[in-house]
Amino acid sequence: MNRKGVAVLAALALVVALAACDDGRDPLTIYSGRDEALIGPLLEQFADANDVDIDVRYGETADLALLLAEEGENTPADVFLSQSPGAVGFLANEGLLGRLSADELSAVDARFESDDGRWIGLSARQRVLVYNEELVDEADLPESVLDLTDETYSGDVALAPTNGSFQDFVSAMRQIEGEDVAAQWLSDMQANGSPTYADNSSIVDAVARGEVPMGLVNHYYNFRKLEEDPDAPSRNYVFPNGDVGSLLIASTASVLASTDKQDDAGMFIDFLLSDDAQQFYSDETFEYPLAEGVEPSADLPPLESLETPDIDLNDLGSLQETARLIEESGLL
């Protein structure tokens, strides 16, 4: 290598060496499956207000759950924030999660926490039908997600069968409407020529472009899409009357059983359930705040008006069964 090359390398090495020096305090370590743009500011607020150092590892919820399982008791993590109850169920099965305090659990409606106190819901997003208003008249949309198998919607409804939220929705349908209805719905959707996409963002994008007239997604993707591109013709439609198609899915917080910072972790969970933090969810991420007493964004129907059934989304066996049904339907 020539001299300039060496100089470049030396400069880079120096920068990293300097960066590696920290003040040596032992911080509260958070693994977050929720993305930084969504939750970063909130975490900073906590650190500043309580003079607690925090370390955050961001990643995909499933990958972080696998990482925690591989790390076992040696994990540096104290708190795990998950996109959905499913991944938390996986960790609870492995015995890696501690029990939350009764005070914390009482802050949230029981349908948004685990029966044995291993996780608690912080915010919720809703399953909706996103549609292109240039291609579809809202009046023509059905009362229930179950009606999307009608041939009127042939080839029109985009699905993301590998997406965790879609799978949660199918699990809910199995529990509420029964195994047979869910299996039939999946195979009818497949027979109806429903195109499949990688994830929620891809569906919202495709709907906005007019590639497909509608698709099943979580509600806030379109809020973000419109923030980025205010002219996009994509709109959210909520199935009325507590239809299973408008299921609420909680994002959750858990404390690792192996933590030695029980106090800081508890303080952190309390903070996430505080009015300020819950208001942040409502204002900045367009999600439903789950702690009682905080109102959602004015653009959303109030939480109480949504009849979301009490169902169990964190049973791993149930998740595997859902995955099997989706695979058998040929949608994958």
Partner: protein, 555 residues
């Protein structure tokens, strides 16, 4: 390369070689030292395979059934079909482009040479994302094209979409080694053929192509391994390959996921072994730079040839860059990202760019130091150790980044406490990159080792130069450009790596690929585009500084 010679053969060969050298025992010592080093490297690279194998055999009773189920075999078949098709197409594009820029009077050769390798730095998930945005129904380019009466590019998904995108972003794996080979090859044979009346195309088929076979197969193999391990493109294009199943079952059915990952690794090793039989990389007889390399006049084919290169660069480089620039621009003008915030977010990328550079450069250099001896042993002293070690190193390229990361987590945390000390530090991340991408340096290094002419070494030996001196003063300088271009490939891959980076990087160590991911995750495309442009720029500058500028022979 024959795998029949045993370890004994190696020792015999070294001692025979060292006969005229001053210190009789030295070559033998270097020989066994080399074998021990290579064995150690092989063990290191085998770690993820071991981890997967152990995990796969939990509930061993169902192992065979699951591996041979129709679902698994179907996905495997689709992975192989896609990878084979992409390899052939990438090889065709890579070889044609290499031939055009080295052997013809195509206009703007310096520009093509600078631009043709760059698509390799674009992460393929970004490539797919951008191509969908541009070409799928209602996309920017599709709308433009329809104004000219071109119908919708429908069906840009599934096999076809994956095939196009992967080909466009992997052809440089073939282009880079082949153009280097063409530039190094004596054109005297082609010259003679031409004097004897052969047409340009005829000499290309009968002379240039066979001479570049080793380089073509080596590059094609990398394309194959890259394609079977790719997840981003097939997921966005909805083509159901093995990686897609591995990904979608990783949490809810981790046993299946782990077993299919192992299957991917076994497939990779099988392909590597098959390739061995196919491409015998002999030593080159007489490599030298021509004072005035042979050039064909393209004549009336000039416009067509120029257009096809422009087409490739247009699709694989200009389109993604243009879409990224447009998204960044749109973020400033139309969304609610004000101009001031735009510059803040651009400034926020300096630190991640530095982090990315440091980790990737460290990985590139470490990879070369570790795998060059493997390549050296495999080429110079063919035998079981070299063959096995190089197959393991190459196989690592096909494993999912997630598997490599988790295996390193397992081995560092369950090992001695001093090993545990490197957990969640930069060295462990660098090690993950090395294991994942060392294959790229390995393949190129093998060509570099083979390119040191026998007669140079013979001459040195006759003059009584010791083996160590021969290595340091003669062979290494001759191999250096080749080794550095191998480092360049590792560098570009490490810069865009995501899954292992997310899990293994020290907390707070943000890289550009993490920034891109953060942006796309939250549908903030302006931020993601800026980070992507920064990645292309950083990667381009680093590769140019460290590799291209100083080794215009590139191998």
């Amino acid at each position: 390369m024959s795998a029949t010679t045993g370890d004994d053969g190696i020792v015999t060969q070294t001692s025979a070689e060292s006969a005229p050298a001053p210190g009789p025992g030295r070559d033998r010592r270097r020989g066994s030292g080399l074998v021990i080093f290579v064995l150690a490297v092989a063990v290191l690279f085998a770690a993820p395979f071991l981890h997967l194998a152990v995990r796969s055999l939990e509930q061993a009773g169902t192992f065979v059934d699951e591996m041979t189920s129709t679902n698994a075999l179907g996905s495997l078949g689709r992975s192989i079909t896609l990878a084979a098709a992409v390899s052939v197409a990438a090889a065709t594009i890579g070889v044609s482009a290499a031939w055009l820029v080295t052997r013809t009077d195509i206009p703007g050769r310096a520009i093509w040479r600078a631009l043709l390798p760059v698509p390799l730095v674009i992460p393929s998930y970004i490539g797919a994302f951008v191509m969908i945005a541009a070409f799928a129904q209602g996309g920017a380019l599709a709308t433009m094209l329809s104004a000219f009466g071109v119908g919708q590019v429908s069906g840009f998904r599934g096999f076809f979409g994956s095939f196009v995108v992967l080909t466009l972003f992997t052809y440089p794996y073939v282009y880079l080694p082949v153009q280097a080979r063409f530039r190094q090859l004596p054109s005297s044979l082609e010259e003679s053929a031409r004097l004897l009346g052969a047409r340009p195309l005829g000499t290309f088929w009968s002379i240039a192509l066979p001479q570049a076979r080793g380089a073509i197969v080596a590059g094609g193999l990398l394309v194959f391994l890259y394609t079977v391990s790719d997840f981003g493109v097939v997921q966005l294009m909805r083509y159901d390959t093995l990686t897609r199943v591995i990904y979608s079952t990783r949490l809810i059915d981790s046993l299946t996921s782990v077993r299919l990952s192992l299957m991917l690794g076994i497939l990779a090793i099988a392909v590597v072994v098959a390739e061995r039989g196919f491409a015998r990389r002999g030593r080159m007889r007489d490599p030298k730079r021509e004072a005035r390399p042979l050039q064909y006049r393209l004549g009336r084919w000039r416009p067509a040839a120029t257009l096809s290169l422009a087409g490739i660069v247009g699709l694989a480089l200009i389109t993604p860059v243009a879409v990224c620039v447009w998204w960044a621009f749109r973020g400033v003008v139309r969304g609610d990202t004000p101009a001031s915030e735009f510059f803040t977010s651009a400034a926020d990328l300096v630190r991640p760019a530095l982090n990315t550079s440091v980790a990737a450069v460290a990985a590139a250099l470490t990879a070369v130091v570790l795998v060059a001896p493997v390549a050296y042993l495999a080429v110079r002293r063919p035998g079981r150790v070299g063959a096995t070690a190089s197959a393991i190193v190459l196989g690592g390229f096909a494993l999912p980044g997630l598997s490599i990361a988790l295996s390193l987590v397992y081995f560092t945390l369950s090992g001695a406490s001093w090993i545990g000390g490197i957990y969640q530090t930069l060295p462990l991340l660098v090690l993950a990159y090395v294991i994942h991408f060392g294959a790229q340096a390995m393949n190129v290094a093998a060509v570099a080792v083979g390119s040191v002419p026998v007669r140079v070494e013979d001459a040195a030996r006759t003059l009584g130069v010791s083996a160590t001196q021969r290595l340091w003063r003669i062979e290494l300088p001759l191999m250096l450009p080749g080794l550095m271009s191998g480092a360049g490939l590792v560098l570009m891959s490490a810069m865009k790596e995501l899954p292992a980076t997310l899990l293994l990087a020290p907390i707070g160590f943000e890289t550009l690929s993490v920034k891109i991911w953060t942006g796309t995750e939250s549908a903030r495309f302006a931020d993601a585009s800026l980070a992507c442009l920064a990645l292309i720029l950083t990667s381009g500058v680093l590769t140019w500084l460290l590799v291209i500028r100083r080794s215009d022979t590139l191998i």
